[in-house]
């Protein structure tokens, strides 16, 4: 075999090897891309399906009577009329958040006083993102229940009872009988009012409203609870370190 012929053979083999190599690279690369695309679709579909399973869309949705427009929460003291120029105070909370509970027990009465006398325009804004972190649906169900209580004029009282019954262990959640029977009975609901509340709770009639509050809160940049917002400015929880309940109005004025 001549030197020339051998050289030609070698070149042909080299070309063939290069071709195979290119095919392998393209094949594996394309395979990886397909895997990524399939994985993205699978994850999106599965998480969507999970969401649909835990939150059965309920019929005849209602908005709590004292809810604010544009999903800006609810007025816990609907009978009070805020004075002209009273600062808007938003309190974002999650029923499963222990610090929200502490915050409420320390400043709840002071907030009530300021809101009832019209010195502040107090908006309660329920959030439910702890459901995701704690892998349950207690924040959602408690939110639905509290909103249902507003249909029988017991929002504020119900709200307090939820926090009063918050489990010691974060994540233990709220049992249905507690939210559906125990708390309303304790609040003195009977007859039509109790039946109306329970129908609302069983039918998850305020589900969409609660979910909308969560979405609005997330969109408003709330990533943790409690978030205390005065006229749109977040008051860091650290600010409350040395603030006694009776000094709360001074703190609010400082930020308004």
């Amino acid at each position: 075999m001549s030197q020339n012929r051998r050289e030609q053979l070698r070149k042909a083999e080299q070309a063939k090897a290069n071709q195979q190599r290119l095919t392998r690279i393209i094949g594996v690369g394309a395979g990886l891309l397909v895997v990524v695309i399939v994985a993205v679709f699978a994850v999106v579909l599965i998480s969507g399906a999970n969401k649909a399973a835990t939150t059965t869309p309920a019929a005849d949705q209602v908005t709590p009577p004292h809810a604010l427009a544009d999903n800006l929460g609810i007025r816990p003291y609907p009978n009070a009329t805020p004075q002209a120029g009273a600062p808007v105070v938003d309190l974002f909370f999650d029923y499963q958040c222990p610090i929200c509970n502490q915050f409420e027990s320390i400043y709840g009465a002071a907030l009530e006083k300021l809101a009832s006398s019209g010195q502040i325009d107090l908006h309660y804004r329920p959030m439910i993102f702890l459901d995701v972190n704690l892998q349950n649906d207690s924040s959602l169900r408690a939110g639905i229940a509290a909103a249902c209580a507003d249909t029988v004029d017991k929002y504020r009282e119900y709200h307090d009872q939820v926090f009063a019954n918050q489990p010691e262990q974060e994540g233990a959640g709220y049992a249905d009988p507690l939210l559906r029977d125990t708390i309303p009975t304790k609040l003195g609901l009977t007859g039509d009012a109790l039946a109306g509340f329970q129908k609302c709770y069983d039918g998850k009639s305020t589900h969409n409203w609660v979910q909308a509050q969560e979405d609005a809160g997330a969109k408003a940049g709330v990533t943790g609870t409690p978030t205390f917002r005065v006229n749109g400015h977040d008051v860091d929880i650290k600010e409350f370190a040395n603030v006694a309940p009776e000094q709360l109005d001074t703190l609010i004025k400082k930020f308004s």
Partner: protein
Amino acid sequence: MTLVARLILGVTLIVAGALKVTSIDAAINSVRAYKLLPFEITALVGTALPIVEIVIGLMLVTGTFTRLAAVLGSGLMLAFIIGISSVWVRGISIDCGCFAPGGAVDASQTQYPLEVARDLGLLILGAWTVWRPASPFALDAWLFAGAEPTITDADQENPR
């Protein structure tokens, strides 16, 4: 050395991705807790991040397109370092959400120095792999076999 580097970085990414991919909503909340990205894209980032982590991790562990995977992996680490440093500087108290659902935590529970140090270490491993991507037990050896002019010793499929 490269083998060790890509295995550590790869396995870490796979674990981090796998722990988050099962709870996409939590991953999205973790991204939001950084208050860094516009709200509209946080859902996209939160969904894509765990998947991207797993894929890059698998590429590193198997040694597939090692250099590319190492570039992407290092880029992720750099992004994480920037993200954590930024919440640190801004005084936001969160869990980084690296391996579990993150979000707001008490200021006393933040672990920023540890988190940054860990990601810095992983970044160095990634950078090393970018610099010297060749290592044993890599699919790249088969994938890129047959490159000229080493056909005689490298390409076992076409022995002469």
